[in-house]
Amino acid sequence: MKERLSELMDGELDDRSAAAVLEALGRDREARQAWGTYHMTGDAMRGGRPLSEGFAARLSARLAAEPTVLAPRALPAESRKWFALSAAASLAAVALVGWMAFAPRPQVAPSAAPVAQAQPEAKPNIVPLPTAANDYLLAHQGFSPRVSLQGMAPYVRTVSEQAVEPRR
């Protein structure tokens, strides 16, 4: 698999093989990590600045917040492949993260009628955790019904490091 990945990165695969590898990437977490690592390695060798930590997660969050209007009927396999290939060809790693955020979940059967999705939300402005995050979390956590399945373990989020800065 890793060999196929590096071939894909170097543009050595024909359309059919590339599509197969991209399919596999959608399923295989390890392969995705390898894909990310290859790109980071490549970037480092070319002297590029690495993406900041958590970039992929933030990008996914931004993408997830993008308008989702009406559910389309099945997207033809052809257009999906095209999207994937163009993603690989251009901003490979970045685009792929986005693509994977939308990747199909295997257990779903493409047959039912479309259902209207809720109104889209505007793209949020990303800000650091509020200084009082700890207060909010402590106040909130105890109301989560999860406590009755898990005891107070979720409270650990209340006091995670960055939330415990002294207040001004």
Binding site: E53, A61, A64, A65, T68, V69, L70, A71, P72, L75, M100, A101, F102, A103, R105, P110, S111, A112, A113, P114, V115, Q117, A118, E121, A122, P124, N125, I126, V127, P128, L129, P130, A132, A133, D135, Y136, L138, A139, H140, G142, F143, S144, P145, R146, V147, S148, L149, G151, M152, A153, P154, Y155, V156, R157, V159, S160, E161, A163, V164, P166
Partner: protein, 314 residues
């Protein structure tokens, strides 16, 4: 777009499915274990690249239960929960934050509500796996829409004790995980759940929370599946008073905090902040700062925040 389609499919095909009694039985078993067992163990909380080790100890007797959580990495922190208070000890700041409640305020995923969970999650049995020397059964909760996260819960096949809880997003990626690396069931004394801090001379921040109605405040439209479960007035931090409204789908919860901006000098930073499965969205409404906090996808937290409105009482 593709995802919207898939979610639509999931909604269309799954909504009416009944959950197997065996699966719901596992959730009840976890619930009962959490209420009845005394235990002590070490667990790792992981969110993205960060992980943190903590020790949790729970002591149960006829008068109720006491639970203690100690964070073992980084800055020492300790939280002790008794029947009606949660005390958070921060020795670095010589500060104790006290969250008081009446007992009925503690939310409970009551056994009868477990069945209702199936309205929002497809609940199925997953694989069996050995975790920290316990043979565990996975119970998988797959959300029926994109408004909540999915969960994989691994429970000890004997006691029902939850050994690992994984939160996953719509793409199936792990958002955060709690997992025990060591656990001993039983053999806990009352002494073990006492705070080890002599905090008498520390500063105390008391929340003084009490049920109340927040007149005029509400949501222009509720988020599907999330119902209002509590409404209260409280203090946050040292002196700020705030209203808090909690919405829940039976498993995930989202709190709306409302604080007056009167007399506040620093500007409100509006927008979205994230930490693992927790999202915090801040905006201004009617000269108040509205802060929405919840273990739900960013879109859900944002939607609830954007629906918060104030209507002057007639």
């Amino acid at each position: 777009m593709l995802r919207a389609f898939l979610i639509a499919v999931a909604l269309g095909s799954g909504a009416a499915q009944a959950q197997s009694p065996e699966t719901l039985g596992w959730l009840r078993k976890m619930h009962d274990a959490t209420q009845k067992l005394s235990y002590t163990g070490t667990f790792v909380y992981q969110n993205g690249p960060r992980s943190e080790t903590s020790r949790i100890t729970r002591y149960v007797d006829a008068s109720g239960d006491i639970e203690k959580l100690e964070v073992l990495d980084g800055m020492p922190r300790e939280i002790v929960r008794t029947k009606d208070t949660v005390r958070c000890y921060l020795p670095g700041l010589r500060l104790v934050k006290v969250d008081r409640r009446t007992e009925r305020d503690f939310p409970a995923l009551l056994p009868e509500r477990i069945t209702a969970l199936a309205r929002h999650y497809d609940i199925s049995l997953g694989e069996t796996r050995r975790i920290a020397n316990f043979d565990c059964q996975a119970v998988v909760l797959t959300p029926r829409d994109n408004l909540r996260y999915g969960y994989r819960l691994y429970a000890d096949t004997n006691s029902g004790m939850l050994l690992r809880a994984v939160t996953v997003d719509a793409a199936g990626e792990q958002v955060e995980q709690f997992t025990f690396t060591q656990l001993t069931i039983g053999g806990v004394s009352r002494e073990m759940v006492k705070s080890r801090h002599a905090s008498r001379s520390w500063r105390t921040e008391d929340t003084e929370a009490a049920p109340a109605r927040l007149v005029g405040w509400g949501l222009s439209s509720e988020l599907p599946g999330f119902q209002k479960i509590f409404e209260l007035k409280r203090r946050l931090g040292e002196s700020r008073s705030a209203g808090q409204v909690v919405y829940s789908d039976g498993l995930a919860a989202v709190s709306v905090f409302i604080e007056s901006l009167e007399g506040r000098s620093d500007p409100v930073r509006t927008g979205l902040a994230s930490m693992g499965a927790i999202h915090i969205y801040t905006r201004e409404v009617a000269n108040h700062m509205v802060t929405v906090v919840g273990e739900a996808p960013a879109t859900s937290v944002q939607r609830i925040a954007n629906a918060v409105e104030y209507r002057r009482p007639q």
